[in-house]
């Protein structure tokens, strides 16, 4: 009989389709796992609503549950329960090691332009905070582009959501 813990462990093996250094569990998008009579219900939240990886994630989770011998029901929950604050400490460290600056913690309110332009964002390569905003947007909806003036390296900054 499959347990919720076994499902969580299996889901932790699925890499994020766009940033494969981090798993879906580390990304914090798996909200709930329920096991009942051989059926496994997984609730997950998209990071961004326009994320093209949504279907891929859903199919991969369903496949993992089937590997455990259970029938999956994967529900996409488009509510406000995901924030970049849900990325685990291990996930943040993996992002940084791969050259993605992890998101700044979300304050009570939405981030402001002046914070992105003047705030102390740290370069994931050399650790300097002498970095500047190049583009609010980047190669995927979840990232911004910054430039480190110390090591002259452009890098991607995870947006705070």
């Amino acid at each position: 009989m499959v347990t919720a813990e076994a499902v969580w462990d299996a889901l932790a093996e699925i890499p994020d389709p766009e940033i494969p250094v981090i798993s879906l569990v580390e990304l914090g998008v798996v909200r709930d796992v329920e096991v009942e009579d051989g059926r496994v219900r997984v609730e997950f939240t998209p990071t961004f609503l326009g994320c093209p990886a949504l279907e891929v994630m859903r199919d991969q989770m369903a496949a993992k549950v089937r590997e455990l011998g259970a029938e999956p029901e994967i529900r996409v929950i488009s509510d406000d329960s995901w924030s970049t604050d849900r990325i685990t400490p291990e996930g943040r460290e993996k992002l940084r090691e791969a050259g993605f600056a992890p998101p700044a913690p979300r304050a009570a309110a939405a981030p402001q332009l002046v914070q992105l332009q003047r705030g102390p964002f740290r370069c994931p390569y050399c650790g300097s905070t002498e970095t500047e905003l190049e583009n609010i947007f980047g190669p995927t909806p979840c990232r911004s582009l910054r430039y480190c003036k110390s090591c002259r390296q452009p890098f991607e900054q995870f947006k705070t959501i």
């Binding site: 326009g50 406000d80 909806p141």
Partner: protein
Amino acid sequence: MVSPVLRRVSERAPLLLPIADDELVLGWRNSEWTGIAPFLEEDVAFSSIAQNEIGHARALYELVAAELDTTADELAFDRSPDEYRCSAFVELRLVPDWAKTIARHYLYEQADEQRIKALMESDDDEVSGLAAKIDREEAYHRMHAQMWFDRLQDEPRFVEALEELRPLADKRGEHIPEFAELWDEMTMVRRSVVGATW
């Protein structure tokens, strides 16, 4: 002719369809800058904003679709042109006019913020939850629009564009002639392969 699904009763449809249609159509218009924006950073920005807006449209259509027992794709692409409830403002094809594009972007994000904040107060938990999620993303669109407003606010062409477009922001009801062509482009794939899923 009214699409069969729209004859069913939905409390969400009158509230959410105008917003979803705006986001779909504006997302489409913004994507027209992909590959041809004045510089690379804006190519990236407008493509990303377009992707977000279409994602918001999909999520809003899904909430309406759940009540009407249909799908987001049917609502997005199977209605006739006169059934779309978007504003004339988002229908305008503004490529290659950068000043007007930024003026619309700025005015749209201001107006959109108001209605999304109102939806966040909805008694319908799915609507208020989705609106709050949309707002997290829109915060970045607003920052981008503000950055350009700060840069262009003294430019006569930009000021003229704001004055020209501002009265259109709330104009809803009749489509402009350009919409027919947009609808044709937007629904072409769906109409050519009946029943296809992607």
